[in-house]
Structures are given as C-alpha cells and as structure tokens.
C-alpha cells in the first residue's frame, strides 16, 4: 500500500468513526424504553427489499415512501405538539434476505435511532425484523406483509410493535372465493398458487376454505417459473369455469399469456400481487381480458377521490408511470406514522406505537383505514376487472 492510500484510508476510517459517534450523540436514549428524536428532525427508517428476489416490490414501495416524505417536508414537516419537524428518511436495503432484514432492523433502531420503520414488503423479511424492533420498542408498519399471522405472536397475542397497511391473506382469499361464487357463478375452478411465498399459499388456502363449488385441480408453481403450459393444458382438459391464481404479477402475467394463447378463455382471478401496470405488458394487452383481482387500491376508485387522485398525479409526474398498489400502500404507511405522531403530539417511538394502535378512520389514498385489535387495518376491498389490458370495471365490497 502506498503512503498516499494509507493516508486516505486512515482519514476515511477516522471520518467514519467520527460520523458514527456523532450519530450516537444526536439521539440520546432517555433511559426509558424506545427511541427519542432530536429537536428539529424526525428520523423514519425504511427496511425494504431494494435488491434480490423481491426488489420489484421493495423499489415500488421505496418510491411511495420517498414521495410521501418529500411531500410532508415540502409542507413544512410533521407537527409534533405544535413544533414542525422535518422527516429524515433512512433507507436501508435488506436484500430480500431474512438475516439481512433482521440486521437492518437492528441498525435502524440502535444505530440510527429511528422513530418508526416502514417496511419490509414481504412477510418473511417482516417476521425476521420483529425481535429487534420489539427489543428497541420501535414500531414498524409494513405496506404489504399480508400473512394472516404476521401481526400475531405464537400464542395468538398481538405483536406490540408490528403493524401493516394492507389487508391479510385470509380476508383476501375469502373475498375472492365469494366473488367467484356470487359474481362469476363458477362451479368448477382450478387453483394454481405460488408456493414459494406464504402469500400465495395463504390465499389459496383461504379461497379453498370458503369456495363451495368443486375445486377440480390444485396445482402450484414457484416464483421465477416461466413455463406454465403443461399445467394449463391439464386445466383445459378439465373444463374449468375459472382459474384462481394467487401470486405476483411477474408469473401471473405469464400464466395469463400462456392460457389465452392456448385458447383458455375462462376468467382468471387473483390477488393484489397482480395489481401492477406491468401485468398487461407481460401478458400482452389482448390476452389480459376477463381478468379479475382483489386489491386494496384501485386507480379507478382513486380517480374519483380527490385525495387519491392528487397522489396519482404526483406519482406520475415524478416516476412517469401509474402508481402500483405497492407504492400507494407504502405512501399510506408513512402517513399512518405521521398521523400517529400528530395525534399523540410526540415522536417517541413508544408513543407512536400507541398512536398507530389507536388509528381510526384514517384517510389514506388506499381508502379509509382503522387499525383493529390485532393491528390489521379494517378497510374496503375492491375487485378490479381487466379487459384488453385496461381496468374496465370494479366491484367494491365493504
């Protein structure tokens, strides 16, 4: 190593050390539970899947979070007991990995001393975060961890610091089954679920428990699969009335494409993992007809709502694409935290937790949210219908 590099290295190390110490001195822990914030800024952490397998969802949520934070700061900041504070967003990547999510949570709570965490996008990364945030008494709002047991401890008691903005799998699967029975009047369905996520299997299970008709085939695929022809050929020979495909748009898009090209014309029904503008692009617009999915956020409903349409416009102006449901939920997650800070008149993490648990009739872009005893949002569910790649109709169920 040359002398020069040595000098640079030691300077960098010193700088880094100084920076870390500065970080410690800013947010002193008052000795009691939880984190407290400095005088003029509220730190909010984001533990998101910015790379790895779930990066598509993590990045969509990052966009929603950043939009919300910038908007709040532009309007002066969060009102903490009459004193306006700017939000400082600390964005960390959990690489879609369980172990990294847990260490990111530790960094955010002990090193960065954030007031609250938004994220992660997936249930598995979210569950990995729980021990660390509970120890630090910092609340976390996941925009999209939908597993029914996510907010609960093993014995059924609620996880004190765990919240979510989306609805849970049981609810969504049940509503999809009711929709298939009542609106589509399907007597024979095939289920084709993503078995690499709790999301896919959870929805499939809830659907099967509610659905009264005949489930003629129950098959699964894994995330990353691209060829569904073999299974779809077998569905075709069984004359199904509808196909239920709980999973994410990357694979469901391909399933739709391959089914339609094979001549399967029956309705294809899925969950909010499909609610992304890329779905019709992947499936091909012509193929994306007679498609239904349950979602917390509908662009059609949003267009009629002044609050949500403002969000849609801001999102489009900044990212040049229609807002996917993931971004809308992440946006709401940030505002849920802001709302909790303002109603509690405090930015202590413990107080925010109490505020989040008491959230009532919170007006988000994805509809009105009331957090129930199990930290699940009570919110309306919408079923969207897609024709030629465009949302052609929607059914709202309260």
């Amino acid at each position: 190593m040359s002398k020069f590099t040595k000098k640079v290295m030691s300077a960098v190390t010193l700088g880094a050390a100084a920076f870390m110490m500065a970080g410690c001195s800013v947010a002193k822990n008052s000795g009691s539970k939880g984190t407290t914030q400095a005088h003029d800024v509220v730190k909010i952490g984001a533990n998101l899947e910015l790379s790895g397998a779930a990066a598509g969802y993590g990045n969509a949520e990052r966009q929603g979070v950043q939009l919300a934070v910038d908007e709040i700061n532009k309007a002066g900041g969060v009102n903490v007991n009459g004193h306006k504070k700017k939000i400082k967003l600390i964005l960390r990547d959990n690489k879609s990995a369980i172990a990294t999510s847990s260490s990111v949570a530790a960094q955010l709570t002990t090193k960065d001393k954030v007031a609250a965490i938004v994220g992660p996008a997936t249930t598995s990364a979210g569950t990995a975060e729980i021990p660390n945030i509970t120890k630090a008494a910092v609340p976390s709002v996941s925009p999209s961890a939908t597993d029914s047991k996510y907010t609960l401890q093993k014995d059924g008691k609620v996880q004190e610091y765990v919240f979510r903005a989306c609805f849970q799998d049981n609810f969504q699967g049940t509503k999809a089954a009711e929709f298939v029975m009542d609106k589509l009047k399907a007597k024979r369905v095939a289920i084709y679920a993503d078995n690499s996520s709790d999301y896919g299997t959870g929805l499939a299970k809830a659907f099967q428990n509610t659905y009264k008709g005949k489930v003629v085939a129950n098959q699964t695929y894994s995330a990353g699969d691209k060829d569904f022809n073999a299974v779809l050929t077998s569905f075709k020979s069984k004359n199904v009335d509808a196909i239920y495909v709980p999973g994410y748009y990357t694979e469901v898009g391909l399933i739709i494409k391959q089914a339609r090209q094979m001549g399967i014309k029956v309705p294809i029904v899925g969950g909010d993992g499909m609610a992304d503008p890329k779905l019709p692009q992947i499936a091909g617009p012509k193929n994306a007809t007679n498609i239904f999915y349950t979602t917390p956020f509908s662009t059609r409903v949003a267009a009629k709502d002044p609050f949500a349409s403002k969000f849609m416009k801001a999102f489009k102006a900044r990212y040049h694409t229609d807002a996917p449901a993931f971004s809308a939920l992440a946006y709401d997650a940030v505002y849920l935290v802001k709302n909790a800070i303002e109603t509690q008149k405090s930015d202590d993490s413990v107080k925010i937790t109490a505020g989040l648990a008491k959230t009532k009739n919170f007006k988000g872009v994805t509809g009105e949210i009331t957090i129930d005893k199990k930290h699940n949002p009570e919110r309306p569910i919408i079923t969207e219908e897609m024709t030629n790649g465009k949302i052609s109709n929607f059914y709202k169920v309260d």
Partner: protein
C-alpha cells in the same frame, strides 16, 4: 391423446432451451473441467442484449439473434480471460468458487444497472397459433425448436469437421500433449467459451420471445436445470447435453401434467442425485477409469 401430444410439444419447446444451455456447460466442462456456474447468467445477458437492440434499434429476429450471440460470446471470452485464466493452475475448487462469484456479479450487477423488475420483451414477430387436429402449436415454438436444432447441428459440425474443433477435442483429451503438438491452448479455450456462450445467448433471446418476460435473475433456475441436463446426458458430451436437455423438459412437463406441479423441481434434482449415484458418467459419458 390430444393432450398427450400437446404436452409433448410443450415439453420439446421447454427442453430445447435447456438443451441449448446444457451444451455450453458440457463443452466448457469437457475442456477445462470447470462447471461454469455463470453460464445461466450469460443467457440472461443475451436476453437483455436482444431486448435493447430490438426496442432501441428495431432489429429483426435474425439480426437480434446474431447480435445476442456475438455479445454473449464476447462476454464469455472476457469472463474466461479475467476470472478463470489466472486460476488455470490453481485447485479446481478455487475456479469453481470464482464461477459462483462471477454469477453473483452478473446477476446483481445487472439488477443494479437496469433494475430488478421483470420487463416485457418486445414482440419481434406476431405470435400465430396453428391448430392441427386440436393441438395448438405456435410459430414461436416451431422457431425455438428449429433454431435449437440448427445450432446443435452446427455445433456438431464445428467440433467434428473444423480445425478448431479438432483442437478442442485434443485439448479436452490432454491439454499438455495438445500444446506439444502445436495447439494454442489459450485460444482453444477462449473459442470454447465463445461458442458455449453464444449458444446461451441464443437461448436467452428465444426465451425472451417465447415467454415475453426477462429479468436479471432469469438465469438462476434454468442454469441449474441445464447443469442437471448436462450431467444427465454425460457431462462433456455434446449429443448427451442435447438429449439431457430434452429429457429434463419432458420430465418436468410430465410431472406437471399429472398434477404434481409442486414436485417438478424436486424431481429434476432427484434425477441429479440418482444419476450421480448410479451412473456418474451420464448417459453418453465415457466411463474412463482414472489411472493412478
């Protein structure tokens, strides 16, 4: 009967992609005894290259295919030169670990550069379905099969009939002896990488067209399955790799069609274990005893 035939068509189009990928694994292994785990990611690079030339410069299928193959070939040669060549005399495990490192570099590098979202592949040609007695086959499926077969025959001709092919065979038997009789080992190995990677690149664009979707991690699973195909056919054997690819395609399709889709990947890896236990040389592999 119709369903059976339909499933056979599904199996063949899936199998031909595995076969194209397996050929690259097999060739590289045959020559430098390295399992090039970055091979699946070269296939991803080929798909992305085709994506860009088609959507930016509106290349047609043939020119896009050739560009993807050339770019992948270059990538293969560059990777060999920088990552594997310096380690030629080191233990095999070191090179193997490097290959895994290169694979991660390509996957995460591309995720960083282009984003990890899945994107739809531009339609180079309109899909037309032909209905022959209730069996649906699309022009793209025919194209995939035809391209794969042509490339396999071409590869066989290169290996068996050309001077470079002879050099490749010589190096695979004994690199030192080949060098003694005047074969440039480095060039031969580079050429092998170029050839194998070009095939992977071709697989990439075919997959892009067929499934209409690409992403930076698309090479992971097919890469591993193609590796199984290469082992099944007899790693190091070119006809073996083609056969192995088709067999894996058929196996997967069969298990999905009888309703055991949850086990389709498990079955492929189970086959790998069985082959390694009972027929380690594969179907076409030479069962040579190592002399001590």
């Amino acid at each position: 009967m119709q369903i059976v035939l339909q499933q056979i068509i599904n199996a063949l189009s899936l199998g031909s992609i595995y076969a194209l990928l397996a050929l690259g694994y097999s060739m590289v292994y045959g020559i430098i005894k390295l399992i090039n785990f970055a091979h699946g990611d070269i296939y991803m690079l080929g798909a992305f290259c085709a994506y860009y030339v088609i959507s930016l410069w509106h290349f047609n299928f043939i020119t896009a295919l050739l560009t993807a193959m050339i770019v992948s070939a270059l990538a293969g040669v560059v990777i060999e030169y920088f990552a594997y060549r310096p380690l030629r005399k080191s233990p095999r495990i070191a090179v193997l670990i490097t290959a895994i490192g290169v694979s991660f570099l390509l996957e995460n590098g591309m995720s960083y550069l282009v984003g990890s979202n899945a994107r739809s592949f531009p339609q180079v040609m309109e899909q037309v379905n032909y209905n022959i007695g209730g069996i649906v086959i699309s022009n793209i499926q025919i194209l995939i099969l035809a391209t794969a077969l042509i490339l396999m025959v071409l590869l066989q001709v290169i290996i068996k009939k050309t001077k470079m092919g002879r050099a490749m065979r010589a190096v695979s038997v004994d690199p030192d002896a080949a060098e003694l009789v005047g074969v440039n080992v480095n060039h031969t190995i580079s050429f092998t990488f170029a050839l194998g990677s070009a095939l992977a690149g071709a697989g990439g664009i075919l997959i892009g067209m067929y499934y209409n979707q690409i992403d930076p991690l698309m090479g992971m699973t097919p890469g591993i399955k193609a590796f199984v195909a290469a082992v099944l056919g007899g790693i190091g054997s070119v006809p073996g790799a083609s056969l192995g690819g088709f067999l894996i395609g058929i196996l997967e399709t069969f298990f999905q069609s009888i309703g055991l889709s949850a086990y389709k990947d498990a079955v492929v890896y189970f086959v790998l274990i069985v082959i390694l236990l009972f027929l380690p040389a594969g179907i076409f592999g030479k069962n040579t005893k190592e002399k001590v």
